[in-house]
Amino acid sequence: MLTIGVDIGSVGTKAVLFDGDIVDRHLEPTGWNPSEAGHRAMESLLKRNSLSPGRIDCVVSTGYGRKSFAEVDKAVTEITCHARGAHFMDPEVRTVLDIGGQDSKVIVLDDHGRVLDFMMNDKCAAGTGRFLQVMATLLEYSIEEFGAVDPDGEMQKISSMCTVFAESEVVSHLAKGVSKNAVALGLLESVAVRASSMLGRLGIKPVVGFTGGVSRCPSLVSLLEGQLNCDVRTYGDSHYAGALGSALIASEL
């Protein structure tokens, strides 16, 4: 059985071709047209694997654009899909922290990857990928450099979590001569604090897995481990967790 899962996120669209295991994956920017992005992602997977659309048994979409995409058999929320995807990547994981482009979520799983409880951030982008992107631009870092600042260096505490307010707070620290490394570290720390308080509200069940685009910031991961006082696992393909989960659900339909 061959299925495709498409995760149309606010920033990136991810698609996974699945036959019981990951056959191929594809990532591209969502742009302004989520349905078009979903379509393109599917086309690329099919073309690269020389498949005709008829060969695919089932397609499930997820992500904020899940309902705008007509070529699917079912749309499932990203909470359920991320849970399944994370569980597939790491069967030991029981708590998933996912920080994506515009939202963050914590999901607690049972032994089969089913959702027991979850929490999402409110509608503001504080502490998400978008927040880090704005800050990286402000500090003239690439996203990779920003995510890899020395976690043991000097840190300037940042108290605002709102993207707009934090921006002006950062500007005022820089004007006072605080190093940009210290500011960057403070920003990452504030994301880690926010995430760990979300985790705390639901109650952490080990093992903790960190997924979503923001999990690719190594410094953030170590700050988070410091906050939580436990190991936080990350996965090479973790930004595909949602697409993988939806492909998995498609294979069961």
């Binding site: 904020y64 929320t77 990203e78 089913r114 409880d117 509608k123």
Partner: protein, 383 residues
Amino acid sequence: MKRVSRIDELLADVEAHLKDGVLQVKEASEKGRPIVGTYCTFAPWELITAAGAIPATLCARGEDPITAAEEHLPRNLCPLIKSSYGYALTDKCPYFHFCDMVIAESTCDGKKKMYELMSRMKPLHLMMLPQTAEGDGSRSAWRAELDRLKDGLERAFDVSIDDGAISERISLRNRERLALKSLWELSMMDPPAITGKEQYLISEYCEFHFHKEELVPWLENLVSQIREAYDLGERRVGKDAPRILITGCPLGGAQKVIHAIEDAGAVVVCYENCGGVKELGFLVDEDRPPMEALTDKYLNVGCSVMTPNTSRMDNLKNLIESYNVDGVVEVVLQACHTYAVETYEVRELVRSTGRPYMSVETDYSKSDIGQLATRIGAFLEML
């Protein structure tokens, strides 16, 4: 050809008359009947009507007047308070426009202080709610507040309210409560006879129908007709639709939550909110002196202003069981501290029954429609 269902016809009729309340109030006002605007379940309907006045629920559920309200009120205030004030300020609420007096209650700090400003626009009587329903002190304070309201009404409308008139109104209102209760109880059936959206629509119609002597038999009849159609096999809700109870803040301005739940394939079977089945659990005791009976009835409304709010928790537990719900969704309006804090206890309570619980914080805007669909969708996928 698709047969038009009996329940469809009944509902279409309700929908066609949804706005009748405005006309009823306008006519009554022009004939010299005093109109009393109210905001809250605590306003004793029986006393107001015994004074010969018509109690009308004032507008508090639209987003439009909030910008105007924010010229006087802080932004970080609950949307219900801002909307209430904004409607009054911009004269966009017909009921506020026609009312001769507003009866308000100190249900929270935000409302209490807002009413000080609102009293510049209309004569306003603020009932001081005790902070707790427990103990003799609170009860006698609330009893005195009912007396003070009675005096206020008598003076304002130059009438004298006797016990006989109050008793008469108590019995009519009790009859309406029972009829409304039987409307909500249509959802005790599995699957429910009508959707949560449809129930809400009918309850709205009833709230804004001011001739209760006509309304009550009409409602009794409507419910029995719906039951009849159901018994003949008419089904509007799939038998697998998860059964959801909504609790928390008043829903009027946040009906998007009902829509999100039902659009995702579940059905709202019970509303433990103001205006829902919550207040209908206790009738006013018709065998006791009317003012005493009213005191106990209204003191026991399970509002989060009370500490502890035992009444709400007991009622909630009861409703979860008797409506056989699969999950509970709590709606908290932004900046409503009392309900927001109570979510902790509600969550514990719901979990202790082995059912899933979710709380959503929202306002009157459309900005979180997508987020709500995801959260609620994910919650329903868990069931």
